[in-house]
């Protein structure tokens, strides 16, 4: 069975738990004592991922690291509908890759600020990290505003969410733990409500579920 080296409070691990839940793929979580045990930096774990980072998957011997790379792999392999990662649509693939890189930027800023505030990563310049996150959130909020204007619910065009939405979601939702409020980003806040209503959505510690959608405005995304 697919194995996920996992840590509950990691937004990057959560990205994979989300996709696996949306796709209904069974997997086994191998819990890593990321904090305070630092198990991901242990010699044993570095044999699995020399970068000493989570998440990692082991799918029948194929070992992959990096949340965005694993999203691409899992969606390509386990989504027969090809909606989460439309691999035959070059325009979509280009846009998804662009936003996966953007999600990496969110990790480098919003997630860094959270690690500073919650887990005492004191070497991080937290003011710079927060400012960086705000710059990215401004870009995404404007993008999502105009996406809504165009009748589009998700980061990339089409009527179905993609792995770009999954990649951006966790560290945006956890930003307040790093002292980054989202009051200035109403389009992001509406998008995150829609995201939470995708069938199969699951929470992590720090993320609350949304209530049910209004009956007259619900859009099926199955």
């Amino acid at each position: 069975m697919l194995k996920l080296y996992d840590y509950e409070l990691s937004g990057n691990c959560y990205k994979l738990r989300l996709l696996l839940s949306f796709l209904g793929v069974e997997y086994k979580s191998e819990l890593i004592d990321f904090y305070p045990g630092n198990q991901h930096k242990s010699p044993e774990f570095r044999q699995i991922n020399p970068l000493g980072q989570l998440p990692v998957i082991d799918d029948n011997g194929l070992v992959l690291r990096d949340a965005q790379a694993i999203l691409v792999y899992l969606a390509s392999k386990y989504d027969p509908s090809c909606k989460w990662y439309p691999r035959d649509n070059p325009e979509m693939l280009g846009q998804i890759s662009q936003w996966l890189a953007f999600a990496d930027g969110i990790t480098g800023t919003a997630s860094a600020a959270r690690l500073h505030d919650a887990l005492f990563y004191n070497h991080i310049d937290v003011e710079a990290a927060r400012a960086g996150a705000h710059r990215l959130f401004r870009v995404l909020d404007e993008h999502l505003f105009f996406a809504e204007e165009a009748g589009q619910d998700w980061i990339c065009p089409g009527d179905h969410p993609t792995i770009a939405d999954i990649a951006c979601f966790p560290y945006i939702m956890l930003s307040e733990e790093g002292g980054i409020p989202r009051i200035d980003y109403p389009a992001i806040r509406r998008w995150s409500d829609r995201f939470k209503r995708i069938p199969g959505f699951t929470v992590m510690s720090g993320v609350f579920p949304a209530g049910p959608a209004a009956k007259d405005s619900s859009k099926a995304v199955a």
């Binding site: 505003f145 209530g211 959608a213």
Partner: protein, 574 residues
């Protein structure tokens, strides 16, 4: 200065920021708001703080009619912001209404306007009746600095900016195109630019217009933020945290409202909902109706001087009206005849605030409702509350015939949970009830309301099937038993240190009233539970139908409107 700002109307959101089932987070002059649109379209602007433990309501859940706090699941009603349910105490009907702080709101020109103490009309927005609402752009800079910079805003060389009296800026181009930009002061160093354009193109024209201004405003934002960063940031506003009312501090005291008619309502719609049953829609003359809990009733003061109790049938969050159902009683005391024959649409009536002596637990795994005839009315409100929360229930409605089924539309919402039993004989009803009540169990509750004989029979069947007293909830709408008031005795009032004589022919309640003790009451026939009072010592002859057998046997409560002492003396906890 501050008070001037507080009395202004400011746009705090675009209408499009409030899709259904979303909670928008806003801020004005340092105070945060939770802003949400109910399914009926009403826009609520509330302080962003649950009064229980201060948690932001903007992380809560808008379920269409109520806002649910994320921390303890407290529910607050659309419009009134009154708390309708406290899950930690599911058996309690809140004796007091905890109300969130609400602020005035106007939705106009595609914007939502509010202000802590805003009143009166919005300033004129002439020329913007057919307008496009621009994308709002927040800026980390003080309001005045933003407004000043906006005077130089423009999209071509012909643009000229001018300040308006309300602090907004209008920029007009040579071709007559005008943009009016309001600056919303979130905090002393944080503002939002909200613009209206006096044109409403569609399609690509709209997208281009929005994009142009989004871009221009963001450019302006970047320039202003550079300027603002060079100055020392002003101290943030410190919004006053209002104290909750005195009566919410401790365990609620005994009410002292007596039998008062506090509210005036207009009968807006009167229609037959079933044979012999009329439905009345009551709307407030002005302002809001109070928050109600499912199971609550109101006193209705009828034109002929009688006071009658009727259950509210509304679903959760329906606070702009109350709908009640009244059955014509052939042998009633003249109240129902007055409703059926004399009341007309447009009439103004006096009613009491809602009281709830029939509280609904929402911590059941499964709830069984059993309604007979007009007894359906409180059950409709209860089942609608459970239905809205997605909790499991079944609804059995016993009627004579199809013509006797009232409130068809409302009960239709229950879909498969609804079973209507028509024209059953008493024996067949008994057999059906045995079937319905076959499975008592952990966290299963049954609620019964209907004619006395059916209620008695149902309680008996429930007991014989193994339902505990605590799991069986009922409400009589009349006490049909003969009340014996032939005894005389003494009552000691422990807290008031008074001793009163209750002679034959008078009730305890009447004697209390004569001595200036304002005991709340409603039906005054031992059915509604409003005049319940604690008993410290003495034996009681219970003549009410409100208390359960267990409560009667325990002897710690008395219905002062009908029940009397078995001993010479009673000590009451008042």
């Amino acid at each position: 200065m501050m008070s001037d700002l507080h009395s202004n109307w400011y746009p705090i959101a675009s209408s499009s920021d409030l899709p259904k089932r979303h909670v928008y987070q806003a801020q004005l002059l340092g105070r945060e708001f939770a802003v949400w649109r109910a399914d009926d379209g009403h826009v609520n602007v509330w302080e962003n703080r649950c009064l229980h433990r201060g948690v932001r309501l903007s992380i809560g859940i808008n379920n269409g009619t109520e806002l649910k706090c994320q921390y303890h699941g407290w529910r607050y009603a659309n419009r009134t912001a009154g708390c309708t349910y406290i899950p930690a105490h599911p058996a309690d009907a809140p004796a007091r209404t905890i109300c969130n702080n609400t602020y005035p709101a106007i939705e106009s020109h595609g914007l939502v306007w509010s202000g802590e103490e805003a009143s009166g009309d919005l300033l004129s927005l002439d020329g913007f009746d057919s307008a496009t609402v621009l994308r709002a752009v927040p800026v980390f800079a003080p309001m005045n600095m933003v407004a000043e910079a906006l005077l130089g805003y423009g999209w071509d060389d012909s643009c000229k900016g001018a300040a308006n009296d309300d602090g907004s800026v209008t920029v007009t181009a040579g071709d007559g195109t005008a943009v009016r930009i309001f600056v919303q002061p979130m905090d002393s160093n944080h503002s939002v630019m909200r613009g209206l354009v006096n044109q409403a193109p569609a399609g690509a024209g709209r997208a281009e217009l929005l994009q142009t201004h989004s871009w221009l405003m963001q450019e302006l934002r970047d320039r202003v933020e550079v300027l603002a960063a060079k100055q020392e940031a002003p101290a943030p506003y410190e919004p006053v945290i209002a104290k909750v009312s005195e009566d919410l501090v401790d365990i609620p005291a005994l009410g002292t409202d007596g039998r008062k008619a506090e509210l005036r309502v207009q009968l807006v719609k009167k229609e037959m909902t079933a044979e012999g049953i009329v439905s009345l829609r009551l709307e407030p003359i002005k302002g809001q109706l109070p928050t109600f809990q499912p199971g609550a009733h109101i006193d209705v003061h009828l034109p002929n001087g009688l006071v009658r109790q009727y259950s509210i049938t509304n679903g959760p969050g329906e606070t702009d009206h109350y709908t009640i159902g009244v059955k014509r009683e052939g042998d009633g005391r003249g109240g129902s005849a007055a409703v059926h024959d004399s009341l007309q649409e447009g009439d103004v009536l006096a009613i009491s605030a809602p009281r709830n002596n029939f509280p609904l637990r929402r911590d059941a795994e499964h709830t069984v409702f059993i309604a007979g005839g007009i007894g359906v009315t409180p059950m409709i409100a209860m089942a609608r509350a459970l239905n809205a929360q997605g909790l499991s229930f079944e609804f059995h409605y016993f009627v004579q015939s199809d013509d006797h089924v009232a409130f068809k539309q409302q009960i239709g919402e229950f879909e498969r949970a609804l079973t209507i039993h028509k024209g059953l004989s008493p024996e067949a009803t008994g057999a059906k009830l045995k079937e319905v009540l076959a499975e008592p169990g952990f966290a299963r509750h049954v609620y019964i309301c209907g004619p006395g004989p059916m209620l008695e029979a149902t309680r008996g069947i429930a007991a014989s099937q193994g339902w505990t007293d605590e799991a069986v909830h009922f409400e009589y709408f009349a006490n049909t038993a003969e009340v014996d008031d032939s005894t005389a005795f003494e009552v000691d009032l422990a807290r008031s240190a008074l001793t009163l004589q209750v002679p034959a022919g008078k009730t305890i309640l009447e004697v209390l009233r004569e001595h200036g003790i304002d005991m709340p009451s409603s039906c005054e026939q031992g059915a509604c539970g409003t005049c319940r009072c604690g008993v410290i010592e003495g034996e009681v002859i219970h003549q009410d139908v409100y208390l359960s057998n267990a409560e009667k046997a325990e002897g710690k409560s008395i219905m002062t409107c009908v029940s009397r002492a078995a001993s010479d003396r009673l000590i009451l906890d008042i």
